[in-house]
Symmetry: C2
Subunit: 339 residues, 2 copies
Amino acid sequence: MIREIREQPEVLGRILDEGWGDILAAARALRSRGVRFVMLAARGTSDNAAYYAKYLFETLLGVPVGLASPSAFTIYGSGMDLRDVLVVGVSQSGESRDVLEVVRRARELGAHTLSITNDEGSSMSGAAEFHFPLRAGREESVAATKTYTAELLVLYLLVSALRGEEGPGDEVRRLPRLAEEMLEAGWSGVERYRYADYMVVTSRGYNYATAQEAALKLMETSYVMAQAFSAADLRHGPIAMIGRDFPVVAIVPPGRAAGGMRELVANLSERGAELALVCEERELVNRVPAGFLVPVSCPEEVSPILYALPPQLLAHGLARLKRLDPDSPRGLSKVTETW
Amino acid sequence: MIREIREQPEVLGRILDEGWGDILAAARALRSRGVRFVMLAARGTSDNAAYYAKYLFETLLGVPVGLASPSAFTIYGSGMDLRDVLVVGVSQSGESRDVLEVVRRARELGAHTLSITNDEGSSMSGAAEFHFPLRAGREESVAATKTYTAELLVLYLLVSALRGEEGPGDEVRRLPRLAEEMLEAGWSGVERYRYADYMVVTSRGYNYATAQEAALKLMETSYVMAQAFSAADLRHGPIAMIGRDFPVVAIVPPGRAAGGMRELVANLSERGAELALVCEERELVNRVPAGFLVPVSCPEEVSPILYALPPQLLAHGLARLKRLDPDSPRGLSKVTETW
């Protein structure tokens, strides 16, 4: 896991160098046909990448998005009308049976279909009309890390190409170098969570995906009962459970979500929560007991690609501290067969 | 809260007696215009009702659905193309600022708009083109109960009317009586959770909403860190954290989701999880340490309306046992202002 975490700058660079051509070609074809709606089908880590894509499509492209409920197809046999819908299947292995079935059925039901997988020869790459490989190299750890950030970047480039851009912009060209700096910083103070049985992770907007993925990594590698909430959802009920010493990790990205996140952090501090921040503002990070001072700056739209890294380091460090094997969590395998 | 839990059979009956006319009229208008896609906007408990509606629209009506990310409108100012889209705002109070903004903006952006609120004079009822009242009477407890099941029934009737049905079917006409029987059964054995700090609630398909709502009720009234997963999502990672004595409540409804849920229950038992089932199969309930034997039968499509009740009783009972006030959770108010 730690080796694959460290490979991420290289993988991001490879996608930028080699991935644009396929993406541009698919985007041109899709623009000429017209896409009225997007449906994203994924599970686990890839489903968290889908949350990021939802914001990209809706905000940057103005196309409404739904996250597929695979069981609507696999167990309820829905025959949805999917004309003018782009269905995107995202799967590291490309072998998740239910996500594969969504892509297959969607194509029969009239959708434009696209798959994004790490394994180029996977079943899903053949099932969709368009296919983008992640170029992340073999991922051996069960807990996905480099394939997650690769998915985010590929999805960002897809939306860029659909907007008519001619190549990857400066905001993404800088990512490999910024990712290096993030990883060099490390997450110190993992020890404080040695006996934390549960934890809340929160963020907002584009980085809601980051909170979801942080919680998933903590659950699968460190067996901490971690739950992610958007800042708004947290305030609609769950915040009641947060009292003194309740551990909360708040991802506070730059940009438009920052104001609301700062308000939430103040509110949680008043409740006595034990806060850790992932944030680039030193003054804010210093005000709480723990966290990760983000050493770089980037636009909010691409920040999830960088802000994913500190939680990976936390999850990995905590698993090691608890003498768990983050590469092989109990009862999990690399390809999960669900229906 | 307990009084409002007990009012549910009466509220369901009132909706069946008085609600159909408005719903049929709106459905006729919408059918004549054509709806290609549905977007549901809600927060908290109402967002859980939206999960149920997603399955109804996709499975029974064949229309793809997305759950709105309100911040795409409120903080990122998305100008989505919403022609041919039905946007449904669901809010008990009708005053959630962000959900209200989604409905307002959606109408400007060309969507057909519908609001479902308990308060008929609310801002949201005026903002949408169509409006259905919940007819649940004033809800005083902060933790919503009767407005949740009212939302489920109204959404079910909407989909029935959109399918061309001429009136509420027998499967819903029986609900008030069946709900009485559910409530009479009670949830015994709440005591075992007195010192449970965390809990997983799981179900699948139509009843994924039930698991989400159960977790929310437990968090806001009993301060248990409860997290909901679909059976499939649980197997894509989070299951690793479930070892010996980990408390899990599994909602095992009748119908097509039952097979997968039974497999999951067997898997969780092998891991040594401390299982409680909400299920109508006595033999299955008897095999695990705790649970609620559902005393009635109903089709899967309407089961979330009945299966919501046992978790309400559990959350209320546990709050009382912990000497918490379920009517006024710390730091919450009836109308949550988020943006």
